[in-house]
Amino acid sequence: MDITSLKAWEMKEKLLNKEISSKDIVEAHIKRIEEIEPNINAFITLNKEEALKAADAVDKKLRNNENVGVLAGVPIGIKDNIVTKGMRTTCASKMLENFIPPYDATVIEKIKKSDGIIIGKTNMDEFAMGGSTETSYFGTTKNPVDPSRVPGGSSGGSAAAVCSNEVPLALGTDTGGSVRQPASYCGVVGLKPTYGMISRYGVVSMANTLDQVGVFGRDVKDAVLMLNAIAGHDRRDSTSSRRSNSGVFIGDDDNESINLLEGLKVALPKEYAEMGVSNKKIQVLFDEAVKVFERQGAKIDFVSIPHLKYALETYYIIMTSEVSSNLARFDGIRYGHRAEDYKTLDELYTNSRTEGFGEEVKRRIMIGTYSLSAGYAEEHYKKALKVRTLIKQDYDNAFIDHDIILSLTSTMLPFEFNSIINDPVEMYKSDLYTVPINIAGLCSMSIPMGKVDGLPVGLQITGDRFMEKNIIKAALGYERAVL
């Protein structure tokens, strides 16, 4: 038996049945990581010793017949923009190359409390800015499906690690698609919950009104297992909602004989249909997926999201504005990279930030600073906030009569390295399917729906705020129908 190819829930079952120990699980994964990392580079920092210690602690609990948590013995990869006490947290930036946080993010505390095993910190685009993991200061991560291609981003390390069986579960963050798009590119499940569902305390902000922690798994059930362990209101994050406490347990949906798609009210945004997809094979795959829903008894319907056409502009103004403010704290004064060469305070700031940040980060800080500047804020930032409200209203209207919205996760296949990163506008465009979901704060997930030319393509299932149960139900139903 290859432990690393098991789903997390399967590992847990075998652990509780004492077929395997937590130590077996962790050792198998460390071995797998050691084999595969030189080719994939999914991790920035590994936590082997601590992981083995944590495994021993779980085994000890089991030997003493003590209760163990819901993630007992399961190795988990953590995107490197989520702070871990005593473990380097770099945000894949030279700026934080040697930054060791003195505290744990709330999600890390919850994983530890649930007896999950943190195996390491995964690679990402620098400060989560990018869609290919190519802007990382620690080298690119390769797509395990085709190592000549990117894993997507910005949570590319987490997606690749789950795809290549280095871990069964991983955390990412999603500001404009950074969980769903790499999930699509690597052929795994990626779930971005509603804004406010998971505490952001200890998650290094990129754009704080859009950022949300998301989960990766190799099937829907695993993603839900992870989500249930970390969701919930946190008094240390005022933007986390009390509505998140209700939980998203699968419950009766776990009964495989039930057809979960029967009667499901599914919306297809007609704006996407009108735009079309340049790669016809991807379109065909999507049309087939819709037919699966239809055949299972779902009601398919077109809706209009009229302000979708402004989503990208709105996103890029709000996101960059927030980036410019959120990244101001990296100034070389208290922690992080400080330039060696400076004479004045201004030079200390300028040189430290010039050296510490990569090009994409600097580009976004510049754009955001401009958007917030006196004389421009009115026509950029403030107008974008108004359009944001309109986009939210469009989705509110769509969800009056529908349970979920179906779309592609990305209109693109995972691309080859260096093929697109020199053209930031093209990369921005690929976010068109994922970005509006963050603008409206909705929940959404990408699940594998097949391959085109041997490369994975994701189906995006979107639900209303705090209606995770709807997208999970749809995803489970689809997974059962096609497997």
């Binding site: 923009n81 989520i82 702070v83 947290t89 945000c91 934080l96 930054f99 946080p101 003195p102 505290y103 993010a105 952001r200 305390y201 200890g202 998650v203 290094v204 902000s205 704080n208 009104t209 008094r235 240390r236 994050d237 005022s238 933007t239 504005s321 927030e322 410019s324 403010s325 990244l327 101001a328 704290r329 990296f330 100034d331 004064i333 208290r334 922690y335 305070l345 700031y349 600073t369 917030l372 500047s373 006196a374 804020a377 930032y381 906030l385």
Partner: protein, 476 residues
């Protein structure tokens, strides 16, 4: 003559909440550097602010006390700028929607009561402190980071240093009254910047506004305004003008020094802070806070004038601080003589405090003890001068007046028999004085009284002794 001074103030007040405004760190002054810090107030990556309810409530209390309109929506914004004592690269503050809009403070001028209008009061976080060492390096102490502040901005309604001082006195007294701040300028819990210019009343020509910083006392504020008034007028008289600039008050030199010129307004790129969801405040919640406020100084003053028949001046002095007002009222409760109590507090009690440079909070004398002392005086058991001596002893030791009187045997001699023999003895010893008195030298009587007081160690009831002395001389 011919010039009018225009002064506006910006006052930062640290709120005396238990915790900092966005985290659970203690809000205390004077702790060892960098011991009152956590990931939130240090602005570490990933840490998030949570608005402290008490800080919000204190801000609202200040707004109510200064007659402002309280906003029904509390929204926090980010003020973006770089500075070593600013840990996040932005200060969480409020931009176009302040917690409190408008308001005013009334000050008592000789002729009239003047209203100094407020522009706004908003809530924000304090920054850390920089300490520059001799070796040209800078140390940073982040204990103050995240201490809640309110910034009070006045309209340019003051026209002299004196008006500014009266305004600040009133502002400080009120903030202390409602218990939202320690308002100690020397500890930085109250900080004041001055905006000043002058206008020539004939020509209408105005000088450009100077902003004065680094003012560490109310005295400094007064002196800086007086200095600037002269500087502005002199420049205008010479046909020049001031520059729009920020200046620093140098206490030792007694002058203001240029810090930087202002070229247009600084761009702080204000934006809504999405980490702190807006808080709605209902009128009911605001009313509940209003009702929790103690009686404000001006209301108390009016009541004192009416209830205790005090002069406006006396009532004003007695209501300057809550503690002084309570001492007065509580003492009056024990001894129903408001005039007597007011005279003693306004006189000896305040004088003693001033001489020893103490605050009313430091007073060791309880209202009960003060009332007991005044009863001893009023009943003639000790005389006025002895009363003052006992008060001093009470002031120094905190002992009850009866104890002091007993220990030192200070009870006044009002027994006629005892006084009779005492006076007989003095008269026998000073026959020349009797002759002098009878020859019309009134001074002789004073000498004899002095001898009686001396012999009685000051305990003789002076009125009675005087009366008996005259009678007894006349009998001789």
């Amino acid at each position: 003559m011919g010039y009018k001074t225009i002064v506006g103030l910006e006052i930062h007040v640290e709120l005396a909440t238990k915790h900092k405004v966005f985290c659970n760190c203690a809000n205390e002054y004077g702790a060892e550097a960098n011991t009152l810090v956590c990931p939130v107030c240090l602005g570490l990556p990933g840490a998030l602010p949570v608005l402290d309810k008490e800080a919000l409530e204190f801000g609202i209390k200040a707004g109510i006390a200064f007659n402002s309109k309280i906003s029904n929506l509390v929204r926090m914004d980010r003020k973006n700028y770089f500075y070593p004592d600013l840990v996040k690269g932005y200060q969480i503050s409020q931009a176009d929607l302040p917690l409190c809009d408008g308001g005013y403070v009334e000050i008592e001028l000789e002729e009239e009561t003047k209203k100094i209008n407020l522009e706004r009061i908003h809530i924000e976080e304090d920054t850390g402190k920089q300490l520059h060492t001799d070796e040209s390096s800078t140390l940073l102490d982040f204990n103050r980071c995240g201490v809640p502040l309110i910034e009070i901005v006045t309209k340019p309604d003051m026209s002299s240093a004196e008006e500014a001082r009266l305004f600040l006195d009133k502002l400080r007294a009120t903030l202390k009254y409602i218990g939202v701040s320690n308002v100690k300028m020397e500890e930085g819990s109250l900080r004041c910047d001055v905006n000043i210019n002058v206008v020539n009343m004939e020509s209408g020509k105005k000088s450009n506004i100077s902003e004065i910083k680094n003012l560490n006392s109310f005295k400094g504020v007064v002196k800086a305004i007086e200095f600037e008034e002269k500087r502005h007028i002199t420049l205008l008289e010479e046909g020049n003008n001031t520059e729009r600039e920020t200046r620093r008050w140098d206490e030792s030199k007694g002058e203001t020094i240029l810090m930087r010129r202002k070229f247009g307004a600084a761009d702080y790129r204000f934006a809504f802070d999405g980490d702190i969801p807006p808080v709605s405040l209902t009128e009911e919640e605001i009313d509940r806070i209003r009702e929790s406020l103690p009686e404000l100084p001006h209301d108390k003053k009016d009541r004192f004038i009416k209830e205790y028949e005090l002069s406006s001046y006396d009532a004003g002095v007695l209501t300057q601080t809550k503690e002084l007002a309570s001492l007065f009222e509580d003492t009056v409760k024990y001894i129903n003589d408001s005039k007597l109590v007011s005279n003693w507090i306004m006189g000896d009690v305040l004088r003693r405090l001033k001489d020893d440079e103490l605050e009313i909070e430091d007073l060791k004398i309880s209202s009960k003890d003060l009332a007991d002392l005044l009863k001893l005086v009023k009943d003639g058991r000790i005389n006025n001068n002895t009363g003052k001596k006992v008060l001093k002893e009470m002031f120094d030791t905190g002992k009850a007046p009866e104890v002091i009187v007993k220990e030192q045997g200070l009870i006044q001699i009002s027994d006629e028999g005892e006084l009779l023999s005492l006076i007989e003895k003095i008269l026998d010893e000073n026959e020349q004085s009797i002759i002098d008195y009878k020859n019309g030298k009134d001074r002789a009587l004073g000498f004899l009284v002095g001898q009686i007081m001396k012999a009685s160690k000051g305990k003789a009831n002076p009125q009675l002794a005087n009366k008996m002395l005259v009678e007894m001389i006349n009998k001789r």
